[in-house]
Symmetry: C2
Subunit: 290 residues, 2 copies
């Protein structure tokens, strides 16, 4: 895993550098919103999605230092940050802390958090437009919309405090979390001009990894420490959130996460030795709970 950790560090550094020049300086008028955009963008995210964008691109023949793939990686992270800022709002999950720091609406204001989230989303589309690939814009927009991330978020909010079935939790996780993770993989593959059969297999890989990521997140929410999580342990349960462990139990959740990772590995066998980083990234998600 040392090689993977070095890779994650390299992607994280490159993503941060790219975000650094994309995001307006926090002195630019109106300063408050630019300051918020930077505050939330540099709040200590692990940059998992940029890793998947770039690893898929490289696995399909692309080269790390292409400015276009770094822009896509940064844009995906901006979309992710936008979704977190809006998720944390009082009218949504009402979270005061994320990764141990005050959430955007606590550090600034609710109005600025709504507008700052909007601004990150819109600016990310502007960044994608500069790459001149409408297929990548269409893919990501579909993953973010009501047939993806936002649809999952709606059902997540509407399921709070209710007894839901396994299919509903799978719907929430597949859409709220896995859709953008899957689109990250596909965006990298599209920029590398991967053929249709490769896109199909990578799409399945992205789904499996994305769903596994959220199932593992559910497990950690129950089993980790408050310090490690940067938020209270069991906070999802306290909110009456639909989680995997609450519906199928802890043992079945762990078995399912393992199965999803194994399926993800099978999906990328076709890449041969070039699948190493994508394979290790899937394993990296799993070992958080082993």
């Amino acid at each position: 895993m040392d090689e993977l950790k070095a890779y994650i560090q390299k992607v994280s550094d490159a993503t941060n550098e790219t975000l650094e020049w994309i995001l307006p300086p926090d002195t630019l008028y109106p300063a408050s919103i630019h300051s918020l955009m930077r505050y939330s963008s540099f709040a200590g995210g692990k940059r998992l999605r940029p890793c998947l964008v770039i690893a898929a691109y490289e696995a399909c023949g692309g080269e790390f230092n292409n400015p276009k793939i770094l822009k896509i990686a940064a844009a995906i992270e901006m979309f992710h940050t936008f979704s977190l800022i809006h998720d944390d709002l009082p009218c949504m999950d009402d979270d005061d802390f994320r990764r141990g720091k005050p959430t955007a609406h606590k550090a600034y204001s609710e109005a600025l958090a709504v507008l700052g989230g909007d601004a990150l989303c819109i600016m990310a589309f502007e960044v994608l437009a500069s790459i001149e690939r409408v297929d990548i814009i269409a893919e990501i927009a579909a993953a973010l919309g009501t047939g993806g991330m936002l649809g999952g978020q709606v059902v997540d909010i509407e399921s709070e405090g209710k007894k839901v079935d396994r299919a509903t939790v799978e719907y929430i996780h597949n859409n709220k979390t896995a859709a953008l993770i899957r689109a990250s993989v596909i965006a990298g593959a599209l920029l590398a001009n991967a053929p249709p059969d490769a896109l199909e297999k990578l799409s399945s890989y992205g789904n499996n990894v994305g769903l596994a990521f959220q199932v593992v997140d559910d497990i950690l929410d129950e089993e980790s420490t408050t310090e490690a999580l940067g938020k209270n342990v069991g906070s999802d349960r306290d909110k009456g959130k639909a989680t995997f462990p609450s519906i199928v139990g802890m043992e079945e959740s762990k078995r399912y996460a393992q199965e999803l990772i194994e399926n993800a590995w099978k999906d990328i066998e076709f890449l041969g030795e070039k699948n190493k980083i994508l394979k290790d990234l899937a394993e990296y998600i799993r070992i958080r709970i082993s």
Copy 2:
């Protein structure tokens, strides 16, 4: 003006038809967000921006029934609706009514209003991607971001209840309102492949018309009736909003609106007889206060 009214009706019908098939049915799961998106999209907007998109396109040689220009017109209206939904939120302008109907967060919920606004914005980019013109996406995204609409919205919120100068109100109006109106004109001209000098003049026309529109809106907020406005007369003043009449007086506001419209007319003289609808649209904005 009869010819213009027929034109506005034709554009409004075509925009509504286009939105009708773009927007997901309100029975599609998750139904609540799709229902909200339709509720706000068909809440009785005048479709001024679609008129400007299509009139600019036709003035530059385009044909009305091109599905691409109708998609751009619908997308611009979706961006506009997204901005209204978020503007009306309790943490922003806290408006319970718009055009005489309950605002989205009153008719649904705050959480759904945040997510439904997000969804309209994201889906509008998806619609634009289908036109395969990244220059149009870049133009509109820049107009919506912190260097445009969202920047104006931030300063608008932060100026509430404060004594501001004329330059600040001009900044707010130029960005919050005029930026997207200008981008509407430019998007139409870009699809018609207008040359750079035409784009420059139409950009100035869009700025002048957009600023005039908001100055007239400020005047109407003071002088119209509650019934005609669909919201309370003087509601901007009551909120301590920075408006033109509150800073330079009613007489100067009306003179300035007239000057802006005349400048807009000069901008489009180069189009010769093809400028008729764009000219009448500018006049249409002015006569609301004459």
